[in-house]
Subunit: 342 residues, 2 copies
Amino acid sequence: MPATIRDVALKAGVSPATVSKALNSSGSVAEETQQKIKQAAKALGYQPNARARNFATRATYQMAFLADFPFDAAFVNPHLFEIMRGVQHTLDKKGYAMVMKHLSSKDAIAYMEQAWSQHLVDGFVLHMSVMTKKLSALISRENIPHIVIGKPNFDNHLCWIDTDNCLSGELAARHLAELGYKDFCFVGGRADDMISWRRLQGVRQALQEMGLELPHERVLQSQSTLADGARALKKLLRMKPRPQAVICANNPIALGLMQALQAKNIRIPEDIALITFDSYPFSMFTEPPMTVVDINMYEMGQEAGRLVLQKLRHPATQIQTYITTPTIVLRGTTASVTPHKN
Amino acid sequence: MPATIRDVALKAGVSPATVSKALNSSGSVAEETQQKIKQAAKALGYQPNARARNFATRATYQMAFLADFPFDAAFVNPHLFEIMRGVQHTLDKKGYAMVMKHLSSKDAIAYMEQAWSQHLVDGFVLHMSVMTKKLSALISRENIPHIVIGKPNFDNHLCWIDTDNCLSGELAARHLAELGYKDFCFVGGRADDMISWRRLQGVRQALQEMGLELPHERVLQSQSTLADGARALKKLLRMKPRPQAVICANNPIALGLMQALQAKNIRIPEDIALITFDSYPFSMFTEPPMTVVDINMYEMGQEAGRLVLQKLRHPATQIQTYITTPTIVLRGTTASVTPHKN
DNA sequence: TTGTATGCGTTATCAG
DNA sequence: CTGATAACGCATACAA
């Protein structure tokens, strides 16, 4: 049988209450008795029972991480993994554990309601893949400590955190401009693809500020598949003058385009430069490896962890933040425009 | 204030003890009173307090998943994610939660000792990335419910589960043989790379059974990098007759080799066929996409979840299993040998 | 600064 | 089949 707080108290010749205070450095305990107690605790190999402590303090020191993890998640959404690592890291440092739970947005409401009322966890980190208006309503009604990863696409009073895709777009544009490119083309996703749209906004804004242009007819839309990337090439080649650099809204487009370019023996980046967003694994294995604007998702996870703890302590605070420190990962699909060209 | 078991008891006109039995269907309660109780519970919206229950039952209904998650884990080790999903799935079904915890093998001993003695969780799922002899000793000494994912490379009394790489090797060889290939080459990892070694064993065994050969000089060793894959090509081309099909022990080798082949305009699979193991994300985006022997890691995760629960209930049982259902994912780097060839 | 008393909400034991 | 009662081990308000 493991030693309890009473055993320590007995051995140290004090009361259990004093032991509790001494070991948690709450309340005031004489330096001398504190030493005595610590010694006794050590001698007995005393370890506080987390279950009893949870019960007494009415807390579990755990946060649930809820997401609709896709099959082959590591590929479909590698970011999710990095976010989780970040969240776990922060929580861990603060003495909290992270419980991973997979569910669909459909099941999320019932689950969360139950988990919350049963006091299974102290709070929730919610990936946007499970977010719905109903869930949002539940959270607000019950005042549940939470943080949503990804901005919900409906009016809400939730606390959320998201990357700033607009800023990433700016960075991509500035990078290309600095290398000397002047004629651009943007291949985006569907009209309702907010991520693609925001990246485009950033590109436009940055170019404008630098006195460069991105005419309307040089912004293409697509379904964000490999095939779409390939299809885009045809339209590209008809443009005059031919674009020197193409900004692809996402990896599939970029990859499809790259394969199409290679099939036509168009050199990258000499003939056409390429840049896209997010450092997907395979983007470093293409030939040449892809230059991308990357976002530190681990960092965002860490911040999310911090925020959910903040909500726990100060339930009233509302947080809605764009956070992001996008960085250019310079690889082979962009290069300084050489003098003899153009 | 949420309703407690006493509120339900009061409303139903019975004792808390009876309520507990009725709601947990433990002990015997008259059908009639059971109805009464359930009705009362529903009316009050009663939800049992998990913290109190954990305290009373001396269990947390949680398992920790320990691993040394690498940076960019989704790429470096996509399998890890699938395993976690599988573990979580099984545990969840059985009413257990999964706590994710990142640590180094160095920190694992201290952490586990503390987590166990503080009753933070009921058991552990340990990825081999954190396994050491010391940890093994701790587990045995304290009799900690556990399951290790990956066979430890030292003598042990642990319970572990691993994939059968030998079987995967067999499958790869049989696949190639069935397509009509006769001259093979195996490009493996370092001599101490057990995974590579086992795959080779499987290949050898299957070929032998089919009356085919893999001469010693056709087994290459490497450091498992892209560059090594490329380097292997030179040796390959000196072999006479030239191998029709190359079995690469892992993805980096295969990818490096593929890029080298393309640089030399050697056609895949017409001139040289390629096969490797594990369906890494980018292997489907190569040109042509890579044929691989894949392993269902999600399934292994599920099994691991089942096993740790079994250890929890029957601590005496020892489990050491190879489990695996490798499947050929037929893509573009292998094809039936056409009659006019050879 | 220390100790006493009490509560946390449920389960389990055992007598009725 | 039911209920009284005792844990479970710790934290905390309050009194000393």
